[in-house]
Amino acid sequence: MAKKESKQKKVNVRVDFTPMVDMLMLLITFFMLCTTLSKPQTMELTMPSNDKNTQDNQKNEAKASESITLYVTADNKIFYGEGIPQYSNPAWLKETTWGNDGIRKILRNHSTANGVKPVTRIELAVKELNADKAKNPKMYPDSIYQKKLSKIKGGELKDGKVPTLTIIIKPSDNASYKNMVDALDEMQILSIGTYVIDKINSDDAKLLKLKGIRL
């Protein structure tokens, strides 16, 4: 009796997992194709209010030598003018190109009345700050870093205050949205803190027409 009981058959309980793997693969592919893993990038933009009742003491005035007007027009073209707009003088308006050798170079090399090149100076300071941050990240948590960055953008460098540039960006009706973003991008790359997007007024339109530029 005892011998018979010990002769139990050992059934192999191996389950084939291959169909399961097949199914999982399918599900994974489905999820991979349907997801957006990385969120898109954004730019923050604060526009002035259209409210006409802005008090005069809330307005800032920029010195003539510290302001540049950019005209972003159709067909990927960009024009710039330094200082106070000279609407009757077409030579004031100069054409340039997008990118490193064009507009970026001009902004970098723009010097103010007392011979400072604010964009170059500020860009250097930001680079220094970033290098410091990369060296010991613990010293620069985000709040401190942002504070220092905005200070530098405001022109307060280690060796005294430099004037900052004020950029007025004026995109025309047929300029593409990409060009406008590109212009804002230049501000970001060059760490320019004060810029504004403005509408083309009738004087601007006249001047651009005088040069034969398609708005």
Binding site: D16, V21, T42, N50, D185
Partner: protein, 214 residues
């Protein structure tokens, strides 16, 4: 000259570890996934070096795309669509809007509206649009858009929508997603309408571009 005896060995591969890994991956994808929204028009955002991410929640996305005629040529005008990431917040603005414009929707229609990720039909066509079949809706939506023209000197339908959405969520963030080729005229109109209602802070959705490549 002896016969080579090929041993027939059992090639059973154990799939258990494989399926373990698979389940892990699957759970990862399931938990991290946010489904791609079905947008009525394809929008190709411009590149920028900015590295700020879109806020997590409470975002009203305004989709701006250059309008195209039947031949596919841009007409110079633009279309505007909207979507709110939290669809629970769609009901209240819808009720307010239909009340304001005297549109009556039945239960089924308002349910359809809430299930759609993106909306952008003029109010007077809303009822008819929502009664269509899903396929017909998808076809018609990309020819529509929220009107930007002001109504009798007052707020435009677009502004009303933003206003109502703002009432539901006071922390609403506005994100502008426009196609790179959109003429600035259209973007300007949207921006200036937002400015008119003191919505002056917003995000512009872009693609990451490395500094230096032009």
């Amino acid at each position: 000259m002896g016969k080579v005896k090929i041993k027939k060995s059992d090639v059973w591969i154990d799939m258990t570890p494989m399926s373990d890994v698979m389940t892990l991956l699957l759970t990862f994808f399931m938990l991290t996934s946010t489904f791609v929204k079905n947008e009525p028009v394809k929008v190709n955002t411009p590149g920028s070096v900015s590295e700020i991410k879109v806020p997590e929640n409470g975002v009203l996305t305004i989709l701006v795309s250059p309008e195209k005629d039947k031949a596919g040529k841009p007409t110079g005008e633009g279309q505007v669509f909207m979507s709110i990431d939290n669809t629970d917040q769609l009901g209240q603005p819808l009720d307010a809007m239909t009340g304001k414009f005297g549109v009556t929707l039945n239960e089924k229609q308002s349910k359809t509206f809430k299930n759609e990720s993106t909306f952008g039909v003029p109010m007077n066509e809303l009822s008819g649009y929502l009664a269509m079949s899903t396929q017909a809706r998808q076809k018609t939506l990309n020819t529509k858009g929220i009107p930007l023209d002001s109504i009798k000197g007052g707020m435009s339908e677009f502004q009303e929508w933003v206003d109502q959405a703002r009432r539901v969520n006071t922390n609403l963030k506005i994100a502008l997603k426009a196609d790179a080729t959109t003429p600035y005229k259209t973007v300007k109109k949207v921006m200036s309408e937002l400015q008119d209602m003191d919505e002056s802070h917003y995000y512009m959705i872009t693609q990451l571009k490395k500094q230096g490549d032009e």
